[in-house]
Amino acid sequence: MTLPGLFDYREVVGRDVVEELTMLASYVGNRSIKMVNSTAVGGGVAEMLHRVVPLLNELGVQTNWEVIKGEAEFFDITKSFHNALQGKEETFEKQTFETYLHYNELNNGQMSFDEDLIVIHDPQPAALIHWHQNRKHKWVWRCHIDLSHPNQQLWQFLQAYINQYDAAIFSSPLFSPELAIPQYQFYPTIDPLADKNKELDPEYIEAVLKEYEIPKDKPLVTQISRYDPWKDPVGVIEAFKMARKYVDCRLLLVGDKAADDPEAERILQIVREAAGNDPDIHIIYLTKSIPSEINAFQRASDIVLQKSLREGFALTVAEALWKRRPVIGSAVGGIPAQIIHGYTGVLVHSVEGASLQIRSLLNQREFAAKLGENGRQRVRDEFLITQNLKRYLLLLLAIERPNESTIFLD
């Protein structure tokens, strides 16, 4: 399958947006970028790089992508780092840090760093900077995870490396720690031409609903999230049941199980028990989700819920907003950055609040449609892949002049 090129985005994001990218790229000139992460497939970072790297190249910015290598012991360590940086309590042995550094050093010996901007993604390759003290190029650490409450022992170890970078990039002010280096904000973005977000034929949407035996006889309220207590699927069922006393509708829960989560089956069982034998509640459990089907579920929905108790950035919200869906989201994590309450969706803080908003939006279709329309515009302004490309172009121009707040190009 041929991946969409820059030209294909013109119809979706606007011709002027693509022209602006081309214009900025002409100012960037022949500067180059190297992206470094720890996996070529799977996970949001690899998914993003698969699209951003070819598009930057198409814009004329020579961009390479290299993946670090390591044995299982290294990736076991970096996985525990990932969890600890997001707050999990754990004590690390000195040997663990030494093994982590050993693999970073091995990778450093096998890689070259001749590009103008080196972007190191996430903690796995973060220590590579250690071997580049007298560098002439700029190094930036792009952190995709929530560092607001990191494990202190680990953070003290990693911080010594992070502070050697020229700058860091975080997805939100909520996720960033205090650092001695400049920090840029890059919101996570979605790809409007990916299978999960592209326009679909109504026939395909109908076929997907039929396949999963979801009648379209009543308004459809949907939450698409893995079956995880933090996504509060039981709270969604409670909110739905409260709302249905006043407005007839169906609830659709779609999700896969959290990877490597031994609790997932038990949680799914709790969700099924909460739903009981209610014929209006459809629980779909996917071992591996198909992006175009997720897309169809979202487009078929009258309301999309994201009633999480704790969240990262929650790009499922941006996906639904892009499809002009009215979204009810919890005021946690990155959701308030996407939903401006009452304008691009509604924010709730409880089961009762979610229930009231389901009733309200199903009875005020014009208002709901307006939220959906504004939501799409909000995504267009901040959360599309073209914005990500623009931020990289601006970063290339800005990082060479770290002390200037306004840069005039001519």
Binding site: P182, Q185, P336, I340, L409
Partner: protein
């Protein structure tokens, strides 16, 4: 034929500062002491985006106060500050601080409230650049209007005042000075920016110009 008009545009890259405010007193201190670029980010940059999604507030300070301090009068007063009337960040900063201080005299209790969520002070690097679009008369100006980005429209209509330090937009100034069309310039100058989205503004400008072609 008048002087050539080369369209410019600007783009901003958001930065994080680590500074936070948990109540109005802290917010006031931040507003008084933060860099000009932070004020720009939370006012001019926000205005550019919020108006497109019909949010009635035109700055992040008002949005935060409204959503986290259960206070409505102060956000209204802050939103009533016309960005277009400020051709320097200094004057805008002083105006914002004065409005908040005046509100403290009237409603001291609001200043004792702790916000549900902190205000995160951000910053920005602003990059201003020349585009490859030109106008040399009204007809070519009208044609270019259709192809420039909304960011370029916003830049010339609102933001460039920070460079020119004039209380007028670039379009009406060029049309008046270079094309000698004071009537059309006056009509453009009097467009109420609050009524239109940027695409709406593009249509309004085009419609006005069409009357003179």
């Amino acid at each position: 034929m008048g002087d050539l008009f080369q369209f410019s545009s600007s783009a901003s890259l958001g930065k994080l500062t680590g500074r936070r405010a948990h109540n109005l007193e802290e917010l006031l201190q931040i507003i008084k002491t933060c860099p000009d670029s932070s004020i720009f980010y939370h006012t001019f940059s926000t205005f550019r985006k919020m108006r497109e999604v019909q949010v009635p507030f035109n700055n992040d300070f008002a949005i935060w106060i409204s959503q986290n301090l259960a206070e409505e009068a102060l956000p209204e007063k802050l939103t009533a500050i016309e960005l277009a009337e400020h051709s320097t960040i200094l004057s805008l900063r002083e105006r914002i601080a004065a409005v908040i201080e005046s509100h403290r005299q009237e409603n001291p209790l609001v200043f004792t409230r702790t916000a549900a969520k902190p205000f995160y002070l951000c910053d920005t690097v602003r990059i201003v650049y020349l585009t490859d679009k030109f106008a040399y008369n009204l007809r070519s100006f009208r044609e270019s209007l259709n192809s420039i980005s909304v960011d370029s429209i916003y830049f010339h209509f609102i933001e460039s005042r920070l460079q020119t330090q004039l209380q007028t937009d670039d379009f009406s100034r060029w049309i008046e000075q270079s094309l000698d069309m004071p009537d059309l310039a006056a009509k453009i100058r009097n467009i109420d920016i609050h009524i239109y989205t940027l695409e709406g503004l593009r249509r309004k400008l085009t419609a006005l110009i069409d009357q003179y072609l």
